[in-house]
Symmetry: D3
Subunit: 239 residues, 6 copies
């Protein structure tokens, strides 16, 4: 089996995390997993959703979008269609859940952090790139919150990163790009925390059912890749 990109089975694409990518947001990161490019911003606003008012607790929520021509074929703009599709809603719910695992919401005060992940170029793995980039933007936003006096100190953050793995031509491979993703037998998205556990595991058999052994092989690959991502996040945050 030779991957279309020539990568080894356990090799990530070139990943980069560019902080302060746009200037208005409290956190703003361009994340690139090879040709997949996503702008992740973290925006701080006073106030929380109704169900949290008066609890002293904060909230983190996420929205996801793709520019119409981020893809090989132009997609209809969701704003002009008048609604977000099921895939979009599913992804933004996943991103929100993942980021809420990064920090104790009680430490935020009654503030909301909006995570916006906008794909400007897609080549597979946009949801996992989004989570990985957004966690860096979240840390930057927490630092700004502290500078502005919204919180006394930056609370402890469990870093969150995510990667896709799959079975491609019978072989477990790490970090699927679009040519792999569109033909893989199985596709698994894994979200982990740097304290060493799973936050989300979402596996789908596209062509054939998968076995517990295949699942475990994929999870091992994912763990390896995510550890590399934690190092890259760490490096970016130390710059």
């Amino acid at each position: 089996m030779i991957r279309p990109s020539g990568r080894a089975a356990d090799q990530l694409r070139q990943v980069s995390l560019t902080r302060h990518y746009t200037r208005h947001a409290e956190g703003s990161v361009l994340v690139e997993f090879g040709d997949t490019k996503v702008i992740c911003t973290a925006s701080v606003e006073a106030g929380v959703p109704r169900f949290l008012r008066g609890t002293g607790q904060g909230w983190i929520t996420a929205e996801y979008g793709m520019l119409p021509r981020s893809t090989g074929e132009r997609m209809q703009r969701e704003a002009s269609r008048g609604k977000q599709g099921g895939r979009t809603l599913e992804i933004q719910r996943l991103i929100g859940r993942a980021l809420r695992a990064a920090v104790d919401l009680k430490s935020l005060g009654e503030n909301t952090i909006y995570i916006d992940c906008d794909v400007i170029q897609a080549d597979g793995g946009t949801r996992t790139a989004s989570i990985t980039g957004a966690c860096v933007a979240l840390v930057d936003a927490l630092r700004v919150m502290q500078q502005r006096g919204l919180i006394k100190k930056v609370p402890p953050v469990r870093m969150i990163a995510a990667i896709s793995v799959g079975i491609y031509q019978g072989v477990p491979v790490l970090d699927l790009d679009y040519p792999e993703d569109s033909t893989a037998e199985t596709d698994l998205n894994v979200v982990m925390t740097d304290t060493g556990g799973f936050i989300e595991v979402q596996g789908t058999a596209e062509a054939a059912p998968f076995t517990p052994d295949e699942l475990n092989a994929m999870l091992d690959l994912a763990r390896k890749g995510i550890e590399e991502l934690f190092a890259l996040q760490q490096g970016a945050l130390e710059d």
Copy 2:
């Protein structure tokens, strides 16, 4: 650890599958997992979505809904809100993917089978009950298709069933009901086929990350439960 229902950790709720529950649909099943009750219908229509026209292949798609007062607190009716929520879309996409794994779509001719899963009473596990019940309705619909001459013979069906498992008070348990689901540390939905593999594995850490060992313990429980479901489906179809 004592489960609120008093069940053993690896014990399903009382499950029943009532075929021919309503009379218009080609397949119509009331599925009950304890107090969770879902009407699953399979409706056959000539024609396929645009992207399949002219291919000779069929399609299976699903929609999911909850009656406003199927839950403890009345929910707003999605039809009057003017849109389906993210959770609804996520679930109906899951059901559709699961059911499409049951049968070779090429064997359906250019016909579409609409799966409708409508929850009339909810007590946790509505999506897994829906998949389990809908697969029985699908088989009935295929039989009607053959009777009507839409297909020459009923194609081979891989039975599909689904169950939720979770970590409740530190212990892996099978088939979460609402009191468990709302407080579980981890929630995992598993969809399998009777040919022995996974179709979907969706695990979410609600309170704390989970480990590979916990994941495997939950998958083992799920496998046990799903095998019981296959037997119940088989029994229902033989009546």
Copy 3:
């Protein structure tokens, strides 16, 4: 003239009212008029619409829906279409008006009772079955309100029931089923109160105008049928 069902012109279908059909709602009734089956729930919530705030008065409102395959041909789900159709809105407005005639809204305190009527199987007469079943659910909800201390005592209820009548093959007939409804010359829905008057009279000439005499013949039939319904409601409430 022989009715498709073989019933006499002035004969209702088999009617049954099953209380406590689902377990979450304050009132929950499965009403069956022959093959027409509707789940009617009454849900109590604190608060009233804006125009009543501060008046001390309560409110009763209704919503109506049909499961997509409650009918012979699958209908598009209104939640996925993104709006309720005109027929749905017309029916739920009718149900709401009818039920508000059952009780003095001042006796409810600033609480709202939501009536949800969801058709799980349709064979004509869904709106009249809905009203008839919902009134029983309303009584159960009032009893729960009293048990919960929301109201001091159950206020006097004028029972409300409804039936359709029509001219079928030139003859006035009671309680049209779908084969009759779809070919009747005239269709009349009548809502009455057990204190003996009309709440709503809605007659439509489908094929030919109708005369005052025909109208009066139909009203007489309706009165007879509704009296039987009052007895059935009474019986159900005494169980």
Copy 4:
């Protein structure tokens, strides 16, 4: 009992029908029932809805709207709310059904006549004024269709007119204006054809149930009023 307007119980308001009120529509009538003013247009378009294609039969459909400040309090514009309300849909469905009774749809060829009734000033009775005015616009549109060669001859038209009646302070009165309508015990809208029968009878008890005798008294009043309307329509069409 003295009516707010000083009219006799069986007296219509001043009614006028101004043909050719706007210049683009095939039929265009300003109908005034006292201070209620509605522009009714009939627009002819080639083609019919999908369910009639290929049948050779035509279609008549109606839409209804109110200018935001046609009423005492400004209403939100339905176009900016993003949907038509239940009352609007109910009224336009009524107008459409009523007008379809005016002419044999087979005589129209595969053409659609759109009836638009737009209330520019409201003082009660807008739906009945709309039907009465729209029928005149329909006749004008049929004449234009014949001039344009869309139909060989103007088909026979059963004139349709409508009026509201009610019980006001215990007395049946004809043609309710807004001060009466908003306080009437019962409100009944009646649509008739000049061949002498009822097309629609829609009665609602607002404050107290009504009896068969009251219903018959109201129907008698309606018949008297509608006959006057037929004469006014006739006069307008002969101008």
Copy 5:
């Protein structure tokens, strides 16, 4: 060059402004520019949008609509389409901005004036007619506000009027009607105040780019026409 209407190049159509056209609104004007007819109402409501609450300042906003058959071909009703089109939103934003230039918003107290411009017959120039008519309705509404004690005195009003100009067959012409508008090379809408300056200048090259000289020639024509409109507004307000 001969204009389709036979008018001189610098000649307005017959313009009329009919005050008190409908009876509910605080200001209600029928404005006619030849065959273009628009009902302009000004409605006063207590309260302001959120961004002005507590400032003591008022607000003026506008909505615009066309009756479906105000035009040569019937347009789909925006209320039934479920949204206002881009052209509608663009025009109502223009009307709102123009009218807000008429009066110091601080002088209104925390009240909102809703301007509704509804085209009942269209023959080009509906937006400029709307602005011209709405300014008269606004003055009437201010007078009513003073009578009702909402404001102590009618604040100073800069009258606002608007006209379209264009290049038609190479010649600058004033007040385009539909036959001119649909074939003009350039179309320019000009809004002015009677204190002598421009409020809005919106020019669009339809067929060929236009030069600064052509722009100035058109602006001169517009100024001449708008001065005539100021005189007509003045006359109407003195009646």
Copy 6:
């Protein structure tokens, strides 16, 4: 008067045009006017809107969006609100009209070019930057169309560029940035073609009416700025 940025009154911001910014679109340009950054793509699709089918003519249309945190305060995502706002629709209509002036639509065959302008960072002048960048993307898309054989040769293109001018503290200034735009007395957007004429002139008095002399002074500034933009477009296209 000193501009917040320290620029001379007739000085553009630093403008850059980066071609091939993303890889899927036929044309893809990142345009920067200082801190304003917009991704402009041109996407080619076979087919035209219904009103052009069978004419052999092509179409160019545009959509515009802003990332939620492209601005100082996060804006609600239009896709999740369920509709595009009036400002968005107004801008995308402007971009579409401007670009359609660039090329003879008959030369495109029955193909549509979708222009998408997505603002990733906003600092005033997003609509003029969008037009200026989109015209370069359009040229690239035409070249691709020729390479793919969709058109025989690249048709002549009139380059289109746009700039904003305004009266800031009494002085006409070129290329307003956000601090100027939000406080300018007058704001004028000018679109020109390199053949020397105006395509659009849209001036709005924000605080005080403007005079013909002020208008002409602003137009002169705009002309100077747009000529510099033409040179930059030329340079970018020659790279």
